[in-house]
Structures are given as structure tokens and as C-alpha cells.
């Protein structure tokens, strides 16, 4: 064991102030000459001082007067836990049911308001029979009793030119 190791072997007794006079003097003399050992011992001394400070803080916390707490009996605690579990499951279940209920209600509202069950999807009658031809425009009346139905008029060229008023003769039906 070299000099530093022999000195460091005294660390615990040095920290505990349990070294004999001769060993204490030997350690002190070595620490004056050896920077590494001096830093090593200083670091451990600092930690020991901090540990004592922690111990003091814990003692002050423990010295607080106790506020007596009355804890419920074990049976009551079990019943409380069961009640809490039931309440939690009920809440989750209600949330899930209300979520799906809302979704279906929205779908139903859409169906009920826009397409009443007892009626079919409204048809849009575009009748060329009642169209008028005015100054280069064809005015085509479109009838639909549901204001929410948006009519998108797609412009396109006619595939064939069917003269107005000739549909019945040609066997065509209103679109």
C-alpha cells in the first residue's frame, strides 16, 4: 500500500473524529504535501457536513406537532374504494353512451330534418316542357320543396338538339 492509500484508509475515522493523535498528525502532514489527497479529504468532509445539515433539517421537520388524524377503519376504506370505482365506471359509461348518442342524433337529425322518413329523397323536377325560350336563353324552372337541397347546375352542351315541345313526340320523359 503506497502512502496515499495508507492515508486514505484513515478516511472514515478521520471523518468520525475517531483517529488517535499520532494518526491525526500523520494525515494532516500528508494532506499538506499531497494535493490529490487534500482534495479527496476535503470533498468527503464537505459531504459529511452536508449530511449533518440534512439530518438537522429532518429533525426540525419531525419536531412539528402532530395534528391527530382520524383515519377510517379498514372496512370503511374498502367500501370507499368500491364506491369510488363504481362512480368512476358509471361516469365513463355515461360519457361513452352520450358520445354515441350524440353521433346518432346528429345523423338522425340530418335524416329527419332533411329527408323525413315518410318521404323519399326529394326529386328535382327539371321540366323542359315548361321551359321558355327567351332571347337566346333557356329558362328552366326547377322545383324542390326542401331549401337545404342545393342544386348544382352543371353546364354542358346538349348531346343532341331536341327541339322544345317535341319530347312527347320523341318518346322522352321529363328528367
Amino acid at each position: 500500500m503506497n502512502g496515499c492509500e495508507a492515508i486514505r484508509a484513515h478516511l472514515d475515522d478521520w471523518l468520525d473524529d475517531a483517529l488517535g493523535q499520532a494518526d491525526r498528525d500523520r494525515v494532516a502532514a500528508h494532506l499538506q504535501d499531497c494535493r490529490d489527497c487534500e482534495a479527496f479529504f476535503a470533498r468527503h468532509r464537505s459531504i459529511a457536513t452536508d449530511l449533518a445539515a440534512l439530518g438537522g433539517a429532518a429533525d426540525r421537520m419531525a419536531a412539528l406537532p402532530v395534528t391527530p388524524r382520524r383515519r377510517p377503519s379498514s372496512t370503511a376504506r374498502v367500501l370507499l374504494r368500491i364506491a369510488a370505482g363504481v362512480a368512476l365506471m358509471t361516469t365513463v359509461g355515461l360519457l361513452v353512451v352520450s358520445y354515441f348518442d350524440d353521433s346518432q342524433r346528429d345523423a338522425q337529425r340530418f335524416v329527419q330534418d332533411d329527408f323525413p322518413r315518410d318521404s323519399e329523397v326529394p326529386t328535382i323536377e327539371v321540366s323542359r316542357f315548361h321551359s321558355t325560350h327567351e332571347a337566346g336563353r333557356i329558362v328552366v324552372p326547377i322545383a324542390c320543396d326542401n331549401p337545404k337541397v342545393h342544386i348544382v347546375w352543371l353546364y354542358n352542351t346538349a348531346e343532341r338538339d331536341v327541339p322544345l315541345g317535341d319530347e312527347e313526340e320523341n318518346g322522352e320523359k321529363p328528367v
Binding site: D12, D16, I47, D50, A52, L54, G55, R69
Partner: protein, 191 residues
Amino acid sequence: MWPGRFEAMTYDLKPASSPSGGSAPLSGAGWTAAVEDHRRGLVRLAMKLVWHRDDAEDLVQEAFQLAVAKRMTPADERFGPWLYRTVSNLCLNHRRKRKAEPLADWLDLADDVRPDDRAQQVERLARLREAMGRLPDRQRLALTLRALEEMEYPRIAEIMELSVSAVRAHVHFGRVRLAESMSDEKSGASR
């Protein structure tokens, strides 16, 4: 004393004779006084291991309940060391559910310390407390009893049911690990 569970323990207990059959059994008042003597020391120890007042009180309470279940009495010479060992084991096995008490209000720092220095000290002590919590159980307990409780080695050996040399070894290696941990954190923090 305390309402609730602890009252039931102190007033319903029938004093038992000591194992040797020699000394007279304690009266109810004697039991209460002996329990109170031990209780303060046990709560101080438990605080140094779990760092939360309510948890410390609960664990000490549990240790006394175990003593009653095992029919141990203050007249038994093993009573004190057994209680300390039981409280220590309960604390080491305790899974912390609540945050440790903050240290800032409980440290005994000089009034002339600058706020910056005070904050640094508080932070350093908090890191040290965390590092203690990471030590292996025996090293942590041995170092807590020696450095924080300032207990003598023979008493620590009696509590931990180890030889004095084994306790010294645990204290030594606990100190070494703690120093390494703190210097690793310091070098990591300075990067």
C-alpha cells in the same frame, strides 16, 4: 394521546410478562410512556429515510402495530433495536407516493448568507438527498444511522443485525458512492 387507531393500541393492550419472567409487566401508563419515548426517535429516523412527515408517522404507527401483533413489550431488551429495525425496513420498502418535503424552509443557514448562495446550498443538499436515495439499502441505512442520526457503530450493528466491521464497510462504501455520485452530477452539470 392520538385519537383513532393508536388509541385502540394503547388502551386495549393487556401488559404481557417479559420473556425472562423476571421483571414485572408494565402498566398501561408505563406502556404509553415507553412508546412515546421510542416514537419520537423513530419518527426522526423515518423522516431521514422517507422525507415526508405523514408517511413517517404512518410507518412508525405500522411498526408499533406489528410489535403488538408479535406481543413485544418495552420491558423486552430487544424492543428498541427491533423497533428501529422494523421502521428502517418499512421505510426502505416504502414506495413514495407523495413528494419529499422541500428543504428550503428547514435548513439552518446563517442569516448573512446571500440569496444566491442559499439557493445553491439548497440545490446541492437536494441533490445529496436524491443521491442518498439511490444507494443500496444497507449502505443507505448504515450511512443514515451514522451520518444523519449520529449513532455509534455498536448500536447500528445491533439494529442492522450485523457485525461492527460489516457496518463500517457499508458506511465506507456508502460514502465513496455518494462522493462519486455527487462529483458525476457536478461534472455533468458544468458541461
